[in-house]
């Protein structure tokens, strides 16, 4: 499953073992964009999923409406991890991007059952 990047939404790639989100997230209509993404996530991390699921997120900017989507996204993953699926989340932020670093730390505080890593990434122009 693949949701192409647009000016205001990130690239999302999803399989039964992996989810990648890269880009910026401030959609014109948050629920219109996020509902299919969350539905795809539910399909990929369904009740029958065995083994592990890896999540890589690298966002450069998201607006306050999208924060709720990310919260719901992590909440779903944390419930699945509680049910026994091994889930590893990597939150990538660029060096010196305090905003995205703090955001990653904020989400980490509410995650109990997933393994969560904050990863400093190289700036794009380096």
């Amino acid at each position: 499953m693949r949701f192409e990047k647009t000016q205001r939404t990130p690239l999302v790639e999803m399989s039964n073992s992996h989810c990648l989100i890269v880009g910026e997230c401030y959609p014109e209509n948050i629920s219109e964009w996020s509902q299919p993404v969350l539905a795809a996530l539910e399909d990929c991390v369904g009740d029958g999923t065995q083994g592990s699921f890896d999540v890589d997120i690298e966002l450069y900017y998201f607006n306050s409406s999208s924060a709720k989507f990310l919260f719901d996204f992590f909440e779903f993953l944390d419930e699945k991890a509680d049910e026994g699926i091994s889930i590893v989340i990597k939150w990538r932020y660029r060096v010196e991007d305090d905003t995205m670093q703090e955001a990653g730390e904020d989400f980490e505080e509410d995650i109990e059952n997933c393994t969560y890593h904050l990863v400093e990434a190289e700036p794009a122009d380096a």
Binding site: Y60, Y61, N63, S64, S65, A67, E96, T99, D106
Partner: protein, 177 residues
Amino acid sequence: MTNLDTVGLHEFMQQRKTLFCYSGPLTEELLTTISNPVRHQLTENETPEAVANRVFGVFIEQAQNIIRYSSQKTSAAGDSVGTIAISYIDDTFLIEAVNQISSTQKSALEKTLLELSLKDQKDLRRLYRQRLKDGPPEDSKGAGLGFIEMARRVKRFEFDFNDSEDNPMFVYRGWVE
């Protein structure tokens, strides 16, 4: 001949060091279009990426506030009307927005923003997380997080209302450096 003073408008914008200004009906579609030149303006003059991102973040929240909450609508499409501007003054970015609101919105806004203005960064961060968990308040069309988000990104902010009974105007200014 009417006195439209186009040169005066130009000089006024130059004097107040306004890099970008939009005034009129604002929609999400239009915001998509204008976010490109805004980004472009912010990456000039070697602005650090972190600062440019904060300015852009405050700009987007202000623009979406106009779209969601301005009580002045165009008669044809019902689009929200407001003015939004970014200026660069003494190494600091000023992001400002103004739109008409209803008198009932005024008291709620005043209360929310007064409370936020008294909080430090630690409290704002805690409040943001709490609001994410609790969900939006009833009168919110977004996640109810926009003003908290802006308060976290700015060095300081101020807000103002004019005293017109019929058409109160809401002014928000945020400084980022």
